[in-house]
């Protein structure tokens, strides 16, 4: 049985790996630039802590796993929770049925408040009704601007995706663009489609939509390159997420195109690109603010009976533009992953 011989030698592999890593570390393979050491001084926002009684709040979103944007929403929510002496219970599922189950789960836990995104309002209607029967205040955030009042939520924090798209479209007019391509990284996503529709609505030039496979960056790069080669008239590439803007910049140089890049949403690499001028501007809906305000509002309601927006109007967190003129002020927060 030669099998055992082989597996014995393979069993050594992890030990060899650890030893190799240790040896390399000792050999002084440290990097003299960049890395964690360079950013170690930065720290996130922190403030005192409320002395109000401990409460529990659930935040239920339609986040898909590994999405940078939702990570920032969650950080904002956590910051508010820490400050308000709240235990934050976070859960998420992009499938509307599952999201509604998660809201039910929060009701069963008898939480003191629920913050929920309404990507598919109809699917959440019943369960929000149940929360109200159970006397749990519910606020909305991010998506559902047109439905939050119908569903009887207390307040709403977010931006209208269409309005954000319209704002970007107007900006393109001001920049003198003629033909834009709007890059959708997840075909069939309502919010992303609304953004492109918004751009189409106000942009006086032509807007074309391009679908790319968002889970595979090399193919995103090739597809944008292909589009730029196919249509030389394109002078603006609009991406709907910060990482895709960085990829679009590479596509431009591959295709030898003179087009410019604008995007929705921010991250730390993107603020650097705006500084350098490789990306022109970003439309930011301030996800941190959405998460923060939603949780903080539930604390205010419980402890002081307050309604943000008076219970009548939504509280808008965007669209805010980040460009060369204000990027320096934003960059340090983006580096912390909170902006």
């Amino acid at each position: 049985m030669d099998r055992s011989t082989y597996s014995r030698s393979r069993r050594m592999a992890p030990i060899v790996a650890v030893a190799a890593a240790a040896a390399l570390t000792l050999a002084g393979c440290s990097s003299s630039s960049g890395g964690k050491k360079a950013t170690e001084d930065s720290s996130g926002a922190s403030a005192g802590k409320a002395s109000t009684p401990r409460m529990t709040v659930a935040l239920v979103t339609h986040q898909a796993p590994g999405d940078t944007f939702w990570d920032i929403v969650r950080k904002g929510a956590q910051a508010a929770a820490d400050k308000d002496n709240i235990k934050l219970v976070y859960s998420a599922d992009p499938n509307a049925g599952n999201q509604s189950n998660l809201v039910q789960n929060a009701i069963d836990q008898k939480v003191d408040g629920i913050a929920v995104t309404l990507a598919k309002p109809d699917a959440l209607k019943d369960v929000i009704g149940k929360a109200k029967t159970a006397n749990i205040p519910v606020v909305g955030l991010n998506s559902g601007l047109s439905d939050w009042k119908k569903l009887g939520l207390l307040e709403f924090f977010g931006q209208d995706e269409t309005v954000a798209g319209e704002a970007l479209g107007k900006r393109l007019n001001a920049e003198g663009a003629k033909k834009a391509v709007c890059v959708i990284q997840e075909q069939g996503n309502i919010g992303l489609t609304q953004r492109c529709d918004g751009v189409k609505k106000t942009f006086t030039g032509t807007t074309e939509v391009l679908n790319v496979n968002g889970t595979d960056m090399p193919s995103v790069k090739s597809t944008i390159t292909a589009k730029l080669t196919q249509d030389k008239a394109i002078d603006y590439v609009v991406t709907l997420g910060a990482p895709f803007a960085m990829t679009a910049v590479q596509s431009l140089s591959d295709a030898g195109s003179k087009a410019k890049v604008a995007t929705f949403d921010l991250n730390s690499t993107l603020t650097g690109a705006i500084k350098k001028g490789t990306v022109q501007f970003a439309v930011d809906q301030q996800p941190y603010l959405q998460g923060y305000l939603a949780i903080d509002s539930l604390w205010l309601y419980k402890n002081n009976g307050n309604y943000s927006g008076g219970g009548e109007q939504p509280v808008l967190t965007g669209p805010a533009f980040v460009d060369k003129t204000n990027v320096d002020a934003v960059a340090k927060y983006a580096a912390n992953g909170t902006r």
Binding site: R3, A17, L24, T25, C29, S31, K36, P218, A226
Partner: protein
């Protein structure tokens, strides 16, 4: 009927049912038939058909730069499709290949960033991690005798979760930090993600790697003992073992080869895009497997080639980018892709049936 003959090495030829013509006509076309009976010729014709189709339908494709872009897109699929194909010839299957690419890139990026070390340290540790994942997949399949579909479905889910959770835990974000200003980066970029100017066209280094790897894989499959082992364990594990083929070693090493591919493509992505998002890679495994299947590798194992998946991957890249070059309505993107691929597979099937029937 019992006189059926195989002109090429028995290991690569599919079984040939049906009557054998003995009226002398076969002697006039033996070369054509021999050629058509090879598993990769169907996909070659399919790829050629797709290529000609887009040459007509999408004028920009005729340009050299467009071809370089299509080949680049194909190469990032193709480099992974090669080990995935070898594994399939060996009778196994790896669903974790897509996320394993991201695992490797995340490991290299986070390790060098967090410890502020030369990026090569991360690259080497990532290689060990990738080989380790491959080893674990193979070891579990061999030890438990469970279908590799189940075992690698498990690792697929584990890696997907680990990618996300560990990245969040270590960096505080769901994407890694930019490492492009660290020591060794530009060096590693030259190795994994360089590009060359050939006749005014920007050509990516992955295209060369892809072709070189395909040549090596072909040589290994057809000319070495190890190649014979792969066909043998994929064809019939028990009889392979009976004639002295080290089944466990062959299978485990094939899984590790997939790990090696994942590491390579992971490094390419890291040094091309500087950062990695932890949610990427999901669904890519199916694209690698499709490229291998279109390239003539049987899902049941024991048959296939290394050159077939090259054309399979090319077809993927060609269709994916060709649709954009043609400027078609993007809503139909996936549907186009599916139809073209099914069409190509059918041509593939038809050619092989025609070839083996005569």
């Amino acid at each position: 009927m019992s006189m059926t003959q195989h002109a090429e090495p028995a290991v690569t030829s599919p079984p040939a049912p049906g009557p054998q013509e003995t009226d002398g006509r076969t002697s006039e076309r033996p070369l054509v038939i021999r050629l058509l009976a090879r598993p990769e010729i169907g996909v070659f014709l399919g790829a050629a058909a797709v290529y000609v189709f887009f040459l007509i339908a999408a004028p920009p494709v005729r340009d050299g730069a467009a071809m370089a872009n299509i080949l680049y897109s194909s190469s990032t699929i193709g480099i992974m499709a090669l080990p995935v194909a070898l594994l399939m010839i060996g009778g196994e299957f790896d669903l974790s290949a897509g996320v394993a690419v991201i695992t490797s890139a995340l490991t290299a990026s986070m390790l060098s960033y967090q410890l502020t070390m030369n990026v090569w340290v991360g690259v080497i540790v990532a290689l060990l991690v990738s080989l380790g994942i491959g080893f674990l997949n193979g070891w579990m399949v061999v030890k438990t005798g469970l279908p590799s579909f189940l075992v690698t479905l498990g690792t697929f889910l584990i890696l997907q979760g680990v990618n996300l959770a560990v990245t969040k835990l270590v960096t505080g974000n769901v994407a890694t930090d930019d490492i492009s200003n660290m020591d060794g980066f530009s060096q590693a970029k030259k190795v994994f993600a360089a590009s060359f100017d050939i006749g005014g066209v920007d050509v990516k280094i992955t295209i060369f790697y892809w072709l070189v790897f395909a040549a090596i894989a072909t040589w290994v499959l057809l000319r070495t003992k190890y190649g014979n082992w792969i066909f043998a364990v994929g064809g019939n594990k028990d009889s392979a073992r009976a004639v002295g083929v080290p089944v466990a070693f062959t299978k485990i090493s094939l899984f590790m080869l997939v790990g090696l591919g994942a590491w390579f493509i992971g490094m390419h992505q890291l040094f091309t895009f500087n950062t990695v998002q932890s949610g990427e890679g999901v669904g890519q495994e199916l694209i690698y497997i499709s490229a291998a299947v279109i390239g003539g590798c049987l899902l049941t194992g024991g048959a296939g080639s290394a050159i077939g998946p090259v054309f399979g991957a090319f077809m993927f890249g060609m269709v994916q980018q060709g649709i954009v070059y043609a400027g078609w309505n993007p809503d139909w993107f996936k549907a186009f892709l599916g139809v073209m691929l099914l069409g190509a597979v059918l041509i593939n099937l038809w050619v092989q049936r025609t070839a083996t029937r005569r």
